[in-house]
Amino acid sequence: MANKLFGILAEYEHPGALLKAAEKVRDAGYQKFDTYSPFPVHGMDDAMGLKNSKLGWIVLVHGLLGLTGALTMITFMAHFDYPVNISGKPFLNWPAFVPVTFELTVLLSSFGAVFGMFFLNGLPKHHHPLFNSSNFLRTTDDKFFICIESEDTLFTEDKATQLLKDAGAVTIEKIYDND
């Protein structure tokens, strides 16, 4: 199997330098790049030119599913399938159905938020080319990186390397698909 170039990985000194470098990469017109940091850097979404996360819509759909699902379930059980006369209360006793409906709405919304987030982030994932770099492993400790990926239409190895270098990279490394 040919060892394909995944992208160029550049290390920056601190979050401030990372943010400025991300702005340069964005202004150069790259789409397929990402910045890596031990914690979310404030203002990075704008610096990278990212659109808003779609997660809210996923949560909304799940929340509505929980709401309608709970009401359907309770109505079916308490009114259609086996109505039971409890202290003469109506079979469709809406106020009493509020707590369970609320809880199930929250439950389904949370499923949407957590599993939707993992879905959007492409997790769980067994391996990623970036993990081939031993230096990259310190991104979860105290290092800051930008990687421009070779799949970007503008990508050429020299230009991307030069851009990252001009933006103040401390180290530059080529990342391959296979180790």
Binding site: G16, P40, S53, I74, V106, S110, V114, F131
Partner: protein
């Protein structure tokens, strides 16, 4: 003309720290040998866990007759312990969700810890509704599952609402906790030296890379979860209070119960966080992250919620008089001066009186005194639930139906056993999990702000760690 002096907030992280020293401080704890005290504590916890399992085994064999329940008092320690443990859990959610929405950055030092406490406390709480049913093999009747009778649960019943509320609460707390843990598991994956450790942490880290495209969705998910957990935590103790308030037993049938229960829950939970935190920060040397400032802030929460609880006690009394219902009036006079007066005054002393010491700045910054009060508060909150449950049932309407409630050895062994369950989990958490949210603590350091570097020289970056 008076002049005002600007008092800057104290730095949240004490001492000279940079990103990698924070990683090392927390991350190395899982690799260092555990302190000797850990093994002793774990031994005790597992012994108590065995006591719990033995007590439950005997309960299943013999039935609920082994408890001190009698004819008027059909709800004894099981519900007292259930409400107490659920209440303790609420502080974890308050810290992780509500303080997050209020942008209280100091929460990052203790949120991991407090969320772990929530999960284990809710597990302990769930033991009681699970085992108190007598015929444990039909406990699944609590859920809307098809059964041999073809019947469904009663959706008019607060006890059924409770099943959904606490079940949802446990699930959402666990998910919230896990989401917070993923980046820190990734830190440990990239850090630990043992191969087994790398594989296990790697599995739980799910392949997290720390890319901003991931962080963006992650932060959104975190915020949405905080927004969902906030009404959820309020609803849970509200519904727990409905177990009492929706009945017509004197002393229970009051509309003040939901807010009063929620305040009490946060009160006891903060006390429990303080107890655990003061021990853990000492043993693991985390005073830079969990500083005396944190203790002071938490003591202010303790004092506030304690005063809210005290207000509720007095208001209950007032409404009992003002409402002019004979049985209600009797229930309250009986609480304060009847056969359970000892429990009532223990509750008043521990919950209303003891937190008032924290008006003094000196006392709320005193670690030893805080530790003492945090335990007193949890004793008091246990007695609150005991007073509510037992006094109302023991002496309700007809004096001929009254009886005095005395717990048995098995009530006590089951309750004490749940501490074994709680601490077994908690000690395992301290041993193998990142006990502080590493990524979140880094995020609140001044160096994490990209504009920090606009005004500081590059040479200064490594020297000057806190502003």
């Amino acid at each position: 003309m008076s002049t005002y002096e600007y008092v800057p907030e104290q730095p949240l992280i004490k001492g000279k720290h940079n990103f990698s020293s924070i990683t090392a401080l927390v991350g190395d704890l899982v690799e260092k040998p555990a302190p000797a005290g850990w093994y002793i504590a774990f031994g005790i916890a597992v012994t108590l866990l065995a006591v719990l399992l033995g007590s439950i085994g005997y309960l299943v064999w013999e039935g609920t007759g082994i408890w001190g329940l009698n004819n008027p008092v059909g709800w004894g320690w099981a519900i007292v312990n259930f409400v107490w443990w659920v209440g303790i859990g609420h502080a974890g959610t308050l810290i992780s969700a509500i303080l997050f929405l209020f942008r209280q950055d100091w929460r990052t030092a203790i949120n991991r810890f407090a969320e772990a406490m929530t999960i284990f406390a809710v597990i302990c709480a769930l033991v009681f509704p699970g085992i108190h049913v007598g015929r444990i093999w039909v406990a699944y009747w609590m859920f809307p599952l098809p059964n041999q009778m073809g019947m469904w649960p009663n959706f008019n019943s607060p006890l059924l609402w409770d099943v959904f509320a606490v079940g949802t609460y446990f699930t959402v707390s666990l998910l919230f906790w896990f989401v917070g843990l993923v980046p820190d598991f990734a830190t440990l994956r990239d850090r630990v030296k043992s191969k087994v450790g790398r594989i296990v942490y790697g599995i739980f880290a799910l392949g997290w890379r720390g890319g901003n495209r991931q962080w963006q969705n992650y932060e959104k998910a975190y915020m949405i979860l905080a927004g969902l957990a906030t009404p959820l935590v309020l609803s849970v103790h509200t519904i727990v209070s409905f177990d009492f308030a929706v009945s017509i037993v004197p002393g229970w049938h009051t509309t003040i119960f939901p807010p009063y229960f929620v305040a009490g829950a946060v009160f006891s939970g903060f006390a429990m966080v303080l107890t655990l935190m003061i021990i853990a920060r000492k043993i693991y040397g985390l005073s830079d992250i969990m500083s005396d400032d944190h203790i002071e802030k938490m003591n202010i929460v303790l004092m506030t919620t304690g005063s809210m609880v005290g207000f509720a006690y007095i208001m209950e009394f007032f409404i009992a008089w003002y409402g002019a219902v004979e049985y209600e009036r009797f229930a309250f006079i009986n609480r304060a001066f009847g056969p359970y007066a000892w429990a009532y005054w223990t509750m008043m002393a521990c919950n209303v009186f003891s937190p008032q010491f924290f008006w003094s700045k000196k006392l709320r910054r005193s670690v030893g005194f805080t530790f003492f009060i945090s335990i007193v508060v949890n004793i008091g909150m246990w007695f609150e639930r005991f007073v509510i449950t037992v006094t109302s049932l023991a002496n309700d309407y007809l004096p001929s139906a009254w009886d005095y409630y005395t717990p048995t050895l098995f009530d006590a062994s089951t309750y004490i056993g749940t501490f074994g369950l709680f601490f077994t989990f908690f000690l395992l958490f301290l041993r193998f999990f990142p006990m502080v949210a590493i990524a979140e603590v880094k995020m609140i350091m001044p160096q994490a702000d990209p504009h920090y570097y606009d005004k500081h020289d590059h040479a200064e970056v490594n020297e000057k760690q806190t502003v």
